[in-house]
Symmetry: C2
Subunit: 305 residues, 2 copies
DNA sequence: TTGAAAGCGCTAACAT
DNA sequence: ATGTTAGCGCTTTCAA
């Protein structure tokens, strides 16, 4: 029924080995033979069976992206999908296939072990939200090809990459100080929000280095929501000495911040500078261009390749 | 090196066929043999090679989700990832694997053809944003197992599912009218936003059925953004006869709407009812609970299974 | 109830 | 430069 390498070989009057060699353009085959084989392939509409090929080659040409999905994840964690998209792109370029797998930190050890033992994929990309110490051990002991996206928060042997949020924070602070702003405020997520905390750390390190003192109420914490950004900004405006620049932990917050300033008739950046970290979607919607420390999460996915 | 079915057979003193039969619990094997084989598998830590199994069975146990990814997609299309997550869930339950593939409407025909011919997957899930007439033909002629997510906007043979947005609109309108609201306004996306348009259609059909006349300025169009919702709401508040209920096309818009009402000191739902369509994230952040026509996009993905 | 053996479709030594 | 052949690891008919 389906055309196999045998059919092609027969039609071309060669052996299957020769056909294989032509396909993989390895070994030396004479031009006439190549032509005959190619003609036969055309004529028969031959398409090699990838499964058979990979099986014979003992490779899968696939990479598993293990992360926590579940309801509302599309809304709560766009960054992850952004990375996933970048990853897919990179893998495609290298002829790999992306398998997406939903898993929890509890289940991952078993899953990965099984995936590796049953040879489901050649490599793994693991979101930091689902790693564990046992997983570290498993991966280390078995030398499983992997990469963790996001910095692990415990001692480990993982190979990981992350956006250097602390550094981004430093950049942000330096930039503002260099522009002449004196008193920087930060409105960020909760203490659990590591990204926000890292950005704050970076900012602090710069301010300390320059002996700038930050009033307690210059650092506000809240949810990563439009509204929360709004309220935190209003809180800042009520402080004794108003700051002259606000660094927002992320875009949701920045959104609310801009709103609040607008409602208070404050001009950006004249009355108040506003800075945030991700480009999207500000490039499109904000008339007063905010300063943006652009971090390419998509690109982070691409780097995995 | 790796333990194969042969090793198990040897250790259990049987043939590989028997081992295979034990694994697939088909055919009749005596209990003692089953025990021996299982013991051998345990002892050797045998793990069947899935690639080999699928190859022999001529199946891949994989489904490709073809959609358009690319930069910022995580932010612009959370719904899609929501569906993807549901899909993954459903596939996992059936022992299938989800392959995610980025593709455009231009490239999909070639990709799918290739994917099918080279036997990359057993089935396809295709996002409506990348379908085309040629694809329809290809899939129809070759009887390729598939499902399109989202309603195609041209005559076709696709097997597709979609959220019935028009019906959701009807529900919304009926609900409000039954609660005693008289003049319904709609703030929605642009004309290109099909979801928004379908919801509006549903609303109109109910209003027409009851001979309710809708003033022109009761239907506002804008971007699917927080800000846009804000401005559209303010526009509504400036109309001659203010409406007593606002239906928002989606949550971004609803977000801005609530804000605007708040800024205008209007109480929800006393002064104005607000209704929107997706649950998330209102369940968490809004004190005055909005009425929500909950559409489970995640579940839509699950249905694919 | 079990086993022998012929594949699945391709690759890769090894020979020629 | 080309062909022979033995796999890859599992399934599945067919016979015993």
């Amino acid at each position: 029924m389906t055309i196999t390498i045998k059919d092609v070989a027969k039609k071309a009057g060669t052996s299957t080995a020769t056909v294989s060699k032509v396909m993989n353009s390895s070994y030396s085959i004479s031009q006439p033979t190549i032509d005959r084989v190619k003609a036969a392939m055309e004529e028969l509409h031959y398409r090699p069976n990838l499964q058979a090929r990979n099986f014979a080659r003992k490779s899968t040409q696939a990479v598993i992206f293990a992360t926590q999905l579940g309801q509302n994840i599309g809304f709560t964690n766009p960054h992850m999908f952004e990375m996933m998209s970048g990853l897919e792109q990179a893998l495609t370029n290298k002829g790999y296939t992306l398998i997406v797998k939903n898993i929890t930190a509890e289940g991952i050890h078993e899953y990965i072990q099984n995936a590796v033992e049953t040879k489901m994929a050649d490599g793994l990309v693991i979101h930091a939200s689902v790693i564990s110490k046992e997983l570290d051990e498993l991966i280390y002991k078995n030398a499983i090809p992997h990469i963790v996206i996001g910095k692990p928060d415990f001692y480990n042997h993982f190979c990981w990459i992350d956006v250097n949020n602390s550094f981004a924070g430093e950049l942000a602070a330096r930039h503002l100080l260099e522009k002449g702003y004196q008193s920087l405020a930060y409105i960020g997520g909760t203490e659990e929000d590591k990204i926000s905390m890292h950005r704050l750390e970076g900012i602090f390190s710069v301010l300390q280095e320059r002996d700038v003192i930050v009033p307690r109420d210059y650092v506000q914490r809240g949810e990563s929501l439009c509204d929360s950004g709004y309220f935190m900004t209003e809180a800042l405006l009520k402080t004794h000495h108003k700051p002259d620049a606000i660094i927002c932990a992320n875009n949701n917050i920045a959104y609310g911040c801009v709103h609040a300033l607008h409602d208070n008739n404050m001009n950006i950046p004249k009355d108040m500078a506003v800075l945030t970290f991700d480009d999207y979607p500000f490039s499109k919607i904000l008339k007063p261009m905010l300063t943006v420390v652009n971090i390419d999460v998509y690109d982070m996915g691409v780097q995995e390749g």
